[in-house]
Symmetry: C3
Subunit: 210 residues, 3 copies
């Protein structure tokens, strides 16, 4: 098997974690009647920004990258507190945040999918790991906040964007495209689908019975 490793610069990884944590704190600010305290916000930040990567590594039974250096946790907590303090500013930067978040799920999905491949997982589990990496943080966030899990319900495509991106990566990789190139295509496709879904209100059908 060709080498499936795909790495992004460390600073880019930290920016992606920061975007996730900031998003999580902004989401938590909608629960103002619930009296979340500063620690609650920090926990939501860690869960949202690092949850996908933690679940990825637990499912792969490998050492948790998020615990291998001080930086991930520090960036997650600070980003969450900044997101909390400046939520009104960031709400006005809505478009920028949506773009950064779309990029983030693309990056996390590509990193997760290629990591699973490089550990020898078959394609369907690699796709599963890619999607968990991309959107697992939002599931953990919703569980901890006790709210319904957003991505399981009708709404603009989020996990599906990550899934299509990861599937493309897998197809290209199996066709012999180098992992790095396939990963870049994955990021672009995930980001595009996510942004177009937000723009045009694309969604999956609701559950239905025959």
């Amino acid at each position: 098997m060709p080498d499936a490793t795909f790495a992004i610069p460390f600073w880019a990884d930290l920016v992606a974690v920061g975007v996730g944590s900031l998003q999580g704190a902004m989401f938590a600010s909608g629960f103002r009647d619930r009296r979340l305290d500063l620690l609650g916000i920090a926990i939501i930040g860690v869960a949202t920004g690092l949850g996908g990567g933690l679940l990825r590594d637990i499912f792969l039974v490998v050492p948790l990258v998020a615990l291998s250096t001080n930086w991930y946790l520090v960036v997650a907590v600070i980003s969450a507190l900044v997101g909390m303090l400046l939520v009104q500013l960031f709400n006005r930067l809505d478009v920028m945040i949506t773009i950064l978040d779309a990029l983030t799920i693309g990056l996390f999905g590509a990193i997760g999918t290629t990591k699973a491949l490089s550990l020898g997982l078959p394609v369907v589990p690699a796709l599963f790991i890619g999607m968990v990496s991309a959107v697992g943080g939002s599931v953990v966030r919703d569980l901890l906040l006790g709210t319904r899990i957003g991505l399981m319900h009708v709404g603009s495509l989020y996990a599906v964007a990550a899934g299509v991106g990861a599937t493309t990566l897998l197809v290209l990789f199996k066709l012999g495209v180098p992992a790095v190139a396939a990963a870049i295509v994955c990021v672009v496709i995930t980001t595009l689908i996510r942004l177009l879904a937000v723009r045009y209100g694309w969604s999956l059908p609701e559950q239905r019975a025959l």
Copy 2:
């Protein structure tokens, strides 16, 4: 220690996963006002059919069997979507589904308990792993749906059936009965207790204080 390995044919394992996933999707169909989408149903299918095995392997710190081949995830997702589409048909097959599900928790319990034994765990943790394997999927399902966890509340015996079956397996195994024979007794006992509990409304007492 004698060999504690107990394996069932691969197709039987897939059928058991499929039954779990189909059950999960049928359960989720009761939340029609919540606008779960197709991805939500697929997630519930994966969680219910594979959740017990995933938790088992995470607790045992071994590679996740459910991610070792493409089949488990594919069967889980397809079963969930079929369960969603044909929920009215399967609701009429209520008795058959209950029997298959009772068999499934018996099989999952026997596989989990013997796997824990073969990895050298003492009997009480092996019993714990057996019960997690059998009913962990239903706990993950309830957590993801944000509903109360059914098996923690008064209702017809479910986890208890798995627990009695696994305990019997452990006693027989310690008495020198080969693992395969002990596992078969476990499946029979679990299935019987579960079906009799449904038929006669057996339940555990509610919590109470002196």
Copy 3:
């Protein structure tokens, strides 16, 4: 690096687990309208008393100590059932329970932090593991009961006490203080902060935006 190992006598570890499980069952008794059954109480006991240690070992990707002997699960289940039966007695022993619980989070925090250090984790992840060890059980308990996660909301300091204790341990250890001495200081500080917070109603500020 100097040796970071810190061990407490096995009986003390079991007492700490028992206190946690008893506390969990007492907490669950407040949900009397929900018809939790005996198994539900046992599950809450295991989750509260062992949840922090299970999460710690899953995050560290090492064999789960709680499953290495029969004793932990047995003590957790029995303590939970005793807590359920004698909840009115223990409610009158409120002060004693609060003190024992404060000691327990101090002990779990010190064990977790030093275990993380001895496995080579950097200081911030070691602090994270220490806090998860100390208060993870209460988070799992709240998730399983479907109630809001107490420690994320304004209330008397709980996780913060564990965090300050673990931080002190890390500072002392990096200054060359032996792990055992640093761990004892951690237990004392955590217990003191927790008890003073209960006594004087100390809490973290609620989330707020600029």
